[in-house]
């Protein structure tokens, strides 16, 4: 076949973003056992073991049965972790194998590349959240009291942890770096943020110390969306989560705009 002559085309303003989004979603769905099934099963196991098996022997918290109380925190934890781990691994892999070059050399602006990479983690996180909610509500009888507040909390959580994943994926030198952040930073902070208990029961000074944990506000914001009640005001939770998310998104955008650590 003879080659065709070159063409001159004005770059389409958003098609690159749409295709990068599609590629990221394609990756999530291709690896669905690892990206979706595994986190859904592990969160369900927590609900079954701690909520349904042990829940009857634990007193109510804030007027809610224990099996109901833990549902929002477990869903928040699963969604946050999946947004983080998806984006950190996809960026690190693209950097490591250097196929990121195909994206960086394409006619896409920095914010489009940023948004495209956020999309994969967001889709994965949303699928996990929806599946867990659909299973957990009938299983535990948990309510969905404040859907609008829940949507805001979920969007901020996904955005913040997705951006954190991108940042770690950009800075990571090895696969170990990413799992280190997840296992040594995110997971303990979420557990200590009141997924399984109300921090108001801890007493001084642990209750006050818990309020310094940013992940506490993520759990509280999502809990308010489901139960309509939380340890702190929903405005405070959403404000803190929003501020952290904004800072992380700005940091990730800085990396794409300057090429810092993405380009030598």
């Amino acid at each position: 076949m003879n080659p065709l002559p070159p063409v001159e085309v004005e770059p389409h303003p958003w098609r690159g973003l749409a295709w990068l989004t599609r590629r990221e979603c394609h990756r999530v769905l291709k690896l669905w056992k690892q990206t979706i099934l595994a986190p859904v099963i592990s969160s369900l196991l927590f609900m079954i073991v701690f909520g349904l098996s042990l829940g009857d022997s634990i007193a109510e918290i804030g007027g809610f049965e224990y099996r109901v109380f833990i549902v929002p925190g477990l869903i928040a934890m699963a969604m946050a972790q999946s947004a983080y781990s998806n984006n950190s691994s996809t960026i690190f892999q693209a950097r490591n194998d250097r196929y990121l070059d195909d994206i960086l050399s394409a006619p896409m602006s920095a914010w489009q590349v940023h948004l495209g990479y956020l999309a994969g983690g967001a889709m994965r996180s949303l699928i996990i959240g929806v599946v867990l909610t659909a299973l957990a509500l009938p299983l535990t009888g948990a309510p969905l009291e404040m859907p609008l507040e829940l949507i805001v909390a979920v969007v901020l959580t996904i955005g913040g942890f997705g951006a954190l994943g991108i940042i770690v994926g950009v800075y990571a030198q090895s696969w170990d770096n990413q799992s280190f952040i997840n296992n040594i930073v995110i997971l303990p902070l979420i557990f200590l943020g009141g997924v399984f208990y109300s921090v108001s029961r801890l007493g001084t000074p642990w209750e006050q110390i818990s309020h310094l944990n940013p992940l506490f506000y993520v759990v509280e914001a999502v809990r308010y969306g489901f139960l309509g009640a939380a340890d702190v005001s929903p405005w405070l939770s959403l404000g803190v989560v929003g501020a952290i998310t904004f800072a992380l998104l700005a940091w990730a955008q800085f990396l794409f705009s300057t090429g810092h650590r993405l380009k030598p």
Partner: protein, 267 residues
Amino acid sequence: MDQTATVTPGTDPAAAPPALSIRGLTKRYADGTLALEDLDLEIPDGSFFGLLGPNGAGKTTLIGAVCNLIRVTGGEISVFGRPGTGMAARRMIGIAEQEPNLDKFLTVYETLLYHGGYYGMDGREASERAEQMIDAFDLRAKRDVEAPKLSGGMRRRLLLARALLHRPRLVILDEPTAGVDLELRHELWRYIRGLHEQGTTILLTTHYLEEAEALCDEIALISGGHIVARDSAEGLKRSHGVETLEEVYLKTVAGGRIAMDQLEEVE
């Protein structure tokens, strides 16, 4: 409205902006290495341009700077008169890098399809073009195979197909025939020649001097981050008073007299 226009370069070379114009390009890496220093280079529209130099001379850095893959320290780049950092310039460049950097989650077809999308093609157009390139590069039997499962030669074909998929006006080929067998090398040469005849400007880096001599109508020799010589292959040989391009290369970029002495000893 169809925004696609087939380009017929070279109709008025004096009026047309160069395919690539580089002014004062400098790149110093974080470790202090000065890879390019105040480099000027202009490649005319429609030319087949060879860039030769030893490892570490700055070839890949120069290509990276043109393709938005490195952060330049200073200088200006324009592509067909458009600022090198702009989207229009990036749309006009196709690059096949030296190392096969293929998305491990995508098949051959998907690699080409998604690349077309990144470069602004719609789904139908990208799909049609992907199928054309699969046939052109003899990848039909591997269409639904993921990139990591391809042989080295197949990966090389796919890299080139990807670089050309969006029909760029300037194609940059960084060692496109490194590590490929003779048959494939000649096949790739034939295709690249055809591409050039259709009006595409080619910038080729290679370690195969006979490849540069056979394909390129102009050659630049780069060493230590500077262009040290530039002419046609014949012009370079004439101006250096030697018989072969290899001698020009050894004289200008590979250690001068010592290398020439070694060459004479071998001969």
